[in-house]
Amino acid sequence: MSPELTANLAATAAKMVVALGMLLTVVPVMVWVERRGSALMQDRPGPNRLGPFGLFQALADALKFFFKEDVTPTAVDRVMYLAAPVLVLLPALTTFSVIPFGPDLLWNGRRIPLLVADVDAGVLLFLALGSLGVYGLVMAGYGSNNKFSLLGSLRASAQLISYELALTLAVVAAILPVGSFRLPDVVAYQQAHVWTVLPQILGFLVFLVASFAETNRLPFDLAEAESELIAGFHTEYSAMRFASFFMAEYIAMTSLSALGVTLYFGGWSLPGIHLGNGWLGAVLGLLVLTAKIAVALAVFVWVRWTFPRFRYDQLMRLGWKVLLPIALVNFLLTAVLTLLGKI
């Protein structure tokens, strides 16, 4: 192994540790935020016994999942049933790899871009991997051999491919002026110009709404609507497998939030402030990004406990008849303006 390769591998491994650590710590934090947040909104205490502000409640929950008995129903399609949680988790985790979390690090004379997978097709890769997430849901629903699960996964798959269109169009519109699929380029562009959210306010709204649908969050959580489908596609899951779905949801939220803030709110950068290419810059960038993601996640929680659930036909109508046309118009406008050099 050449030292070059060794260095590269080491750098990549380090970045992966950072990214994974971030994503995995997000989950218990988010569990706590979700519970305390909802309590706050509903004017009740929420979990407040374990640790300061009940912070350890999440740990207790995690421990509970670890030690619960893992029940596999006899009638399930075993391959599907067992593969589903992994498949749900996989895209959620991998998508984050294209998100830059700081300015390029100059270290030992080499330039290390602070993202796990620095590929040209970054945004595309994100979307492609994200679109694979639907398979986890479908397999879970089908493999459970349960009509509620099946209906849930049917709803999920239809919902996902419907909103993926609007989401993708919004994303493409956002990166159109940049002229690159690489997210670091997108951040650099926003540093040089202005946060994309300003010119792309329409696209951002589409992205925002579609994000809720893509992550199966309220008000679009019809795939697991407890009042209709018990728990939808993960009805038959328990213990760690159930936890996987749980984690996947929050990680997907985090990844999508990361994409959102990177696309529309400058990512790790702050307007007008140059963070530099040293270690300080890297840490600051990571902090800035984390802060922005935290705000975005707060919005997710806020929305969840604020809006009622949609009906399925309303969901579809919104997706196809409102969001898609808006996204198309936005895309077209952006394309024309970009062509004219106005952006």
Partner: protein, 193 residues
């Protein structure tokens, strides 16, 4: 390294392809096809077509096959309904034909110039081959007409698909000359020959 990746994903592609055609459960088959597509996408990357790889996953795996799954679940397609009886020729002729096809292709391959220089390592990937910009430039200049036609085709397909799959309205269902069985059909006339 590259060879290892190729061998790994080629093997994965072949195995999953066999599962696609051999598995009796359409959901499994579809899932297996996702795997094949994924493997082929990786090979696309190896061949210097990352854009196509992304498209392959985004469109094929992310949309088309989801549609398949959707339909499978909607129609509740279970295992194949009719057994193979009475059609051994069809089955073996098909498999034999496929084998012969493979053999002929291999023969062709080894007879052609590829046999002599196909084994040689390829030159480095060029920027024009890999970059998205080159592909986009071609798409909107040289191949503009096919591109527009494909757009039209997709529009037509969307309209056609919704027209065909639309559930008939109550009047249409009651219209004379239309027969819409609600339950399974009587078997007598539908028995496979």
């Amino acid at each position: 390294m590259e060879t290892a990746i190729f061998l790994l994903f080629a093997a994965l592609a072949v195995v999953s392809a066999v599962v696609v055609v051999a598995h009796r459960n359409p959901v499994h088959a579809t899932m297996s096809l996702v795997l094949t597509l994924f493997s082929v996408a990786v090979l696309f990357v190896l061949l210097g077509a990352p854009f196509l790889a992304a498209l392959q996953i985004l469109i094929y795996a992310g949309a088309i096959l989801v549609l398949f799954l959707f339909v499978i679940m909607l129609l509740n397609v279970q295992r194949e309904e009719t057994p193979y009886h009475g059609q051994p020729v069809q089955r073996w002729a098909a498999i034999l034909g496929a084998a012969v096809f493979c053999g002929m292709l291999a023969m062709l391959l080894f007879r052609s110039s590829l046999a002599s220089n196909g084994g040689a390592p390829l030159g480095p990937l060029t920027e024009s081959l890999v970059s998205f910009k080159g592909l986009a430039a071609d798409l909107f200049s040289v191949d503009l007409l096919p591109f527009e036609i494909v757009g039209l085709l997709l529009l037509v397909a969307v309209i056609g698909a919704s027209a065909v799959a639309k559930r008939p309205t109550a009047e249409e269902r009651l219209a004379p000359g239309r027969r819409l069985p609600e339950g399974p059909l009587d078997g007598a006339e539908d028995q496979p020959r």
